[in-house]
Symmetry: C2
Subunit: 394 residues, 2 copies
């Protein structure tokens, strides 16, 4: 083990995690954050809400790592035993922190004071950290020479308290690129040797709902990010927490353009994605979900002869829908989708086949899409494709 890489262990506490009622997303989030802070996570364990088990496991992990982060079990109920377990691991008592007690009473509007008073207990020799988005504070205590942090379990609270910690050492530089278009395997091929393990900067790729996230951590992250961008071109749609709809709204706002949508197989998903962005009303006029041929004719003015002749899955229908949306809502840009979401083929077309059209003053473009997949994936691909097209401009 290199001298500069420090070992961290993660302990998550909670019966609900062991029984599978909750998926442990905190461990992954902490693993990623600790990596960014220069720690190598050597183990992650989950145990029940049991004081003795908590104490014993903290001792073992403190022995095996240079830093231990515990989450969960800091709430006000009798099941929450992490603060007791932490104190026991170090062989110290809990003391009531008057400042915390006042703060907690205020935040809980003096309800259930006796119960909530437990959250003002701090191990002797330890420190408490303010929880800016919740009631239970974070705790720090040294156990057998190793710093142990106990942080609240609700993800938003964990993140907020973690952000306030000083874990020592300078965090490594990090770049996060957000990518849409290639599959994970295609991305690996395109990036090739840049992804090789064990180098500096370290590279990681995660996929979630067709969006790939490329993380670059360590010395040379900026240069590597530029190299990745050079290979992926405009498939890199943003950085950090950017989302495709967020970039669509920001881009249209910058250009002073408005958009309206006409959706068949995406069924409202494009509109929903855009409206999910705060301030979407600056650029979004509205949309029509034209799920039937009749609605395409009635609400979007798609010619009945075209529908009779070509059916609903046709490039000219997509084009007419995009133009119809643009005209109906008096928008600068109209976007339309029509296709076969599945599970059954229709209009003589296969599942996954369809069209995305984008209409503007400059004219109308139609993009063909094919590729069978389960219904939710087909619908998501059309939705993300349409958003990606909007990011790049009409």
């Amino acid at each position: 083990m290199s001298v500069t890489v420090r070992r961290a262990a993660i302990l998550t506490v909670g019966d609900e995690l062991l029984a599978g009622r909750t998926i442990n997303t905190n461990a992954a989030w902490l693993g990623d954050e600790l990596g960014r802070h220069g720690y190598n996570v050597v183990r992650a364990e989950t145990i029940p809400d049991d004081e003795e088990e908590i104490a014993r496991t903290i001792c073992r992990l403190a022995d095996a790592a240079d830093l231990v982060v515990v989450t969960g079990g800091l709430g006000p109920t009798q099941d929450d035993l992490t603060r007791e377990g932490l104190a026991r691991a170090a062989g110290v008592a809990l003391r009531e922190d008057r400042g915390l007690l006042t703060q907690i009473a205020e935040r809980t509007q003096h309800r259930a004071q006796e119960r909530n008073a437990r959250m003002a207990l701090v191990p002797v020799g330890g420190a408490a950290f303010e929880n800016p988005v919740g009631t239970a504070p974070g705790l720090r205590l040294t156990v057998a020479g190793t710093p142990v942090y106990a942080l609240p379990g609700p993800p938003a609270e964990l993140r907020a308290v973690f952000a306030g910690l000083d874990l020592g050492g300078a965090p490594r530089s990090r770049r996060i690129l957000r990518v849409y278009g290639p599959h994970e395997a295609e991305l690996a091929e395109t990036l090739g040797e840049l992804l090789a393990r064990g180098g500096e900067p370290e590279m990681g790729v995660t996929a979630r709902g067709s969006i790939l996230t490329v993380s670059i951590t360590g010395a040379g992250a900026d240069e590597r990010a530029a190299a990745v961008r050079a290979r992926l071109g405009d498939h890199v749609f943003g950085e950090d927490e950017d989302t495709l709809p967020g970039v669509v709204v920001a881009t249209l706002r910058e250009r002073g353009q408005s958009v309206a949508v006409a959706e068949s197989l995406t069924g409202g998903a494009i509109a929903d994605a855009i409206v999910s962005v705060p301030g979407a009303s600056d650029v979004f006029c509205g949309g029509v979900v034209a799920y039937t041929a009749k609605a395409k004719y009635d609400l979007l003015g798609v010619p009945q002869e075209l529908l009779d002749e070509a059916g609903t899955v046709d490039p000219r229908v997509a084009q007419a829908m995009a133009n119809g949306a643009r005209a109906r809502f008096d928008a600068d840009i109209g976007v339309a989708t029509t296709g076969v979401a599945g599970p059954d083929p229709h209009s003589g077309r296969k599942v996954g086949d369809g069209y995305i059209a984008i209409a503007s003053a400059a004219g109308t473009r139609v993009i063909e899409r094919t590729g069978a997949a389960p219904r939710p994936i087909v619908r998501r691909r059309f939705t993300l494709d349409a958003l990606w097209v909007l990011c790049r401009g009409a």
Copy 2:
């Protein structure tokens, strides 16, 4: 510990889990399945792809539990060291299984035979289990008197191999109820003593995106499910894998009714949810996302005087939108939403305020909704409320 509840431990192996590149969904899935098979999961640990660490941890877990399930690290690459670690835990060698070797060679079409041959290695004294959806078989070996199963890490393979195991004992009966409406704390209050820990049947409640799932496991599950239904009434919208949009489509299909939507703050989310259900076209006509006052007037026929006088967040506007959707799409039922999604108040109304209207031949009903929350939560609540109203009938 009761004699009938056996202790299980879960070990997941993989650097990608510790670094946070992958969220550990296998542990939750196994926790739930093991619970259903009568096991109490007492710990879940994640460790790196390190032979000695794997061996040492398997030994410790075999000591602490009556069953150990290991996942990950069974692939063909040099990083996959679970089979070596398992053999080492029991102090046995690995032998090549000729039958497996042939099977693997066939499945991999004789590519990379040398590399893939590792997957035909079985610890001496152990057994292999066929992987119906992948190449790496599952393994079983007794370590210090405790059965240890090593299963592939890809979730689909884990599930397929797990399904073929005989873990001893009869799986316990289980009922799953799906609930919308109450918050988790309200549910706990309503169900009260039924949720008490340590009883039979065992009860669990999980919350995901405002939908609560009540699981009831063990003897008397059916009677308990009836008792829960009696207390929660029509807040129980389904069982098992039922979703609100799925129940909406099934209910409307049963009644022979069609629906159209008019969405303002939900912005296409209701339409999207309905269209996500295969066969939605049987009942769904379409919708209008009327995000602006102009669109409410132009496309839905909301009277301009009303919009001028009352603004967009008004019960009469919601009513006119629902009627407009019903008329425009020639549907049996029209549903509409209008309100303040946030982050800023508008039309003189607070974030979270708004209306859901439902129109049918029987007339129009309007439901008022209030309660500040972050934008995504406000939007989700209106969406789910509208779907729940549709489940119960116009």
